[in-house]
């Protein structure tokens, strides 16, 4: 392919020949790569949860379903298993604030064990101790603090969509005692409250919890410990299923990931359509310039040179549209990150997707331009010059 810069004015001027057609073609490609960028951003956001999930952390939940509860008494029985370092119960609280649409992932847990299990959590020591000491205290992620403007010491009337208090109220008065961060900008949109406060206050399901998070002494012993936990509760009314947090996250992503697969299919279809649109544009463009191609060949442009020119023009169109599309996707990621953060933390175009997109742009241009370029290459000068 002719790639030297001296041909660029020739290529650019070719694009300006039918400006409207070029504009619509580039706009179509822009939309295709915008969709691609957004789909990859979503996939990245979903996958990032898996990447930060620990392989040395196990989740023990009811064998039947994630929504079935487990006895709180299991905690001590799990704790004594060889290889277990720490255990905390957790339950889906269904927390919200002001508007039920403002759902916040909220988990009652054992505060001391929680820090043993999640050592990556970054929180000032004084705040940490203050939270551990206050049964009605909550530790919130930086994302929640930013979202609602909460500060340490703020009293919060936290609502639950699931759990009512003994007096029938769905409001759980709590106080912000600590604000945590995660390394590498992980999702900090969560609230952690005391299990004791939750257990004592809830109206129903006393003595039951959602699931256990278990930290093991090494990744190597995770599988053995998981088997031992499940064996311990086999044939009981509440049998368990234990797997690593990472496997659980991957399983969750795989379910949600079907959306990603659907998006990929849509983007694939859009790309195919773009291939046809670009190929049609190039075919029309070459047909209209038959005489000019004859002139170029007369001046000494070789068949291979003409092939390269047409292919370069096609790649220029797809690259222009593609880069604009990817930049638009990146811009949307940056601008709407605070909105997406609530549902898709880490939503952004990953670097790998940008590289992939550039490869697709070039490939799309080459494939779309192949037939017109071949026709231009094969054009006989005398015949081409006869067409005015």
């Amino acid at each position: 392919m002719i790639g030297t810069a001296k041909y660029l004015p020739l290529l650019v001027s070719s694009l300006r020949r039918k400006r409207l057609r070029t504009f619509f073609t580039i706009a179509s490609i822009l939309v295709a790569f915008l969709l691609f960028g957004l789909a990859e951003s979503m996939r990245y956001a979903l996958q990032s949860g898996v990447d930060i999930a620990g392989a040395d952390r196990l989740l023990t939940m009811h064998k039947v379903s994630f929504t079935q509860l487990l006895p709180a008494s299991y905690e001590n029985r799990i704790r004594v298993i060889d290889g277990v370092v720490a255990v905390t119960p957790q339950t889906w609280f269904g927390g919200w604030f002001r508007d039920e649409r403002n759902q916040i992932p909220t988990f009652p847990c054992d505060p001391v064990s929680y820090f043993e299990i999640y050592p990556e959590i970054v929180v000032p020591e004084d705040q940490k101790q203050a939270w551990i000491a206050d049964r009605t205290g909550i530790m919130i992620g930086r994302g929640v603090a930013d979202l609602f403007g909460w500060k340490v010491g703020d009293p919060v009337p936290l609502k639950s969509a699931i759990w009512r208090r003994e007096d029938g109220s769905d409001t759980w008065p709590v106080t912000v005692r600590a604000i945590y961060d995660l390394p590498q900008g992980g999702d900090t949109r969560a609230i952690v409250m005391h299990q004791d406060y939750f257990e004592e206050g809830k109206q129903m399901a006393k003595g039951l919890i959602g699931w256990y998070v278990v930290k093991v002494d090494s990744v190597d012993s995770a599988q053995r410990v998981a088997k031992q936990i499940d064996a311990q509760f086999a044939n009981s009314p509440a049998e368990t299923k234990t797997s690593s947090e990472r496997a659980m996250a991957q399983s969750f992503v795989n379910q949600v990931g079907n959306i990603g697969a659907i998006l990929t299919a849509i983007v694939g279809a859009v790309f195919f359509t773009m291939l046809l649109v670009t190929a049609n544009t190039m075919a029309q463009s070459v047909r209209e310039r038959t005489n000019e191609i004859g002139v170029l060949k007369t001046l000494g442009f070789s068949n291979a040179g003409v092939l390269g020119l047409v292919l370069s023009e096609s790649v220029l169109i797809t690259t222009l549209g593609g880069l604009l599309g990817i930049v638009a996707a990146w811009w949307i990621g940056v601008q709407f990150e605070p909105v997406f953060r609530q549902y898709l933390p880490g939503f952004k175009v990953p670097p790998g997707a940008i590289v992939m997109a550039i490869v697709y742009m070039v490939a799309l241009g080459i494939v779309a331009g192949a037939v017109p370029a071949w026709q231009a290459m094969r054009l006989r000068i005398v015949q081409a010059l006869r067409r005015e």
Binding site: Y7, S13, L299, A304
Partner: protein, 235 residues
């Protein structure tokens, strides 16, 4: 039939027994029928003849735009008819300048970009190309129209740009296909005067196809073609 130059001089173009046939369905049409011709260095030859006599075909063959069915065609001792497509393209870029009746400028490019086109194939820097383009445009008297696109120029000016494009690589041969055919008499005369100057002052060898006897008068030699055969008169 053969036509030899009146004055002995080394031929730059040497054509022997040239035959060109086209196929139209089942019919084979012989456009050039065993033609032999020598053109000397610095000659200015007018090719005349009725439509379909093979003038443009001969011009295309001399310029390496088409291939003969049989016979030989040498330019500066090189068997042009035996070159590969790629070699022929390189040879055209180095040795031939074409001037068309309809100018054939690229409408999206300015005059200077059009003139620069053949230089893109050369190993020249941007500055070198710019200097050559400026010199060619100056030679045809269009330095002040360098930034204009073809649609902003008159027919005569477009043809001057076409001539500048043809001479910018300093080719051995200038091949002109009806260069005044689309111009009024005044513009046509200016183009012919320019071609004469290129021939007289710069020693360019020119082969010009024309229907116009007035244009042919400017040439040193006038060669008539009829049914693929030659006859010669003095210009």
């Amino acid at each position: 039939m053969s036509v030899e130059p009146a004055v002995a001089a080394p031929p730059i173009v040497r054509i022997r027994d040239l035959v060109k046939e086209y196929r139209r369905g089942a019919e084979v049409v012989r456009v050039l029928d065993g033609l032999s011709l020598d053109i000397r260095q610095g000659d200015f030859v007018a090719l005349m003849g009725p439509s379909g006599s093979g003038k443009s075909t001969l011009l295309n063959l001399i310029g390496g735009l088409d291939r003969p069915t049989s016979g030989s065609l040498e330019v500066e001792g090189l068997r042009v008819d035996q070159l590969t497509d790629a070699s022929l393209a390189h040879w055209r870029a180095d040795h031939v300048g074409f001037i068309f009746q309809m100018y054939n400028l690229l409408p999206v490019l300015t005059a200077e970009r059009n003139v620069e086109l053949p230089l893109l194939l050369k190993d020249l820097t941007r500055d070198q190309r710019a200097r050559r383009v400026a010199a060619a445009l100056q030679l045809v008297g269009l330095s002040n129209r360098a930034k204009h696109r073809p649609r902003e120029l008159s027919g005569g000016q477009e043809q001057r740009v076409g001539i500048a494009r043809a001479i910018v690589t300093d080719p051995t041969l200038l091949l002109c296909d009806e260069p005044t055919g689309d111009l009024d008499r005044k513009s046509g005369d200016e183009i012919l005067t320019l071609l004469e100057a290129l021939n007289d002052e710069y020693g360019k060898t020119i082969v010009m196809v024309t229907h116009d006897p007035h244009a042919a008068e400017r040439a040193h030699r006038v060669i008539h073609l009829d049914k693929g055969m030659l006859s010669e008169g003095q210009g």
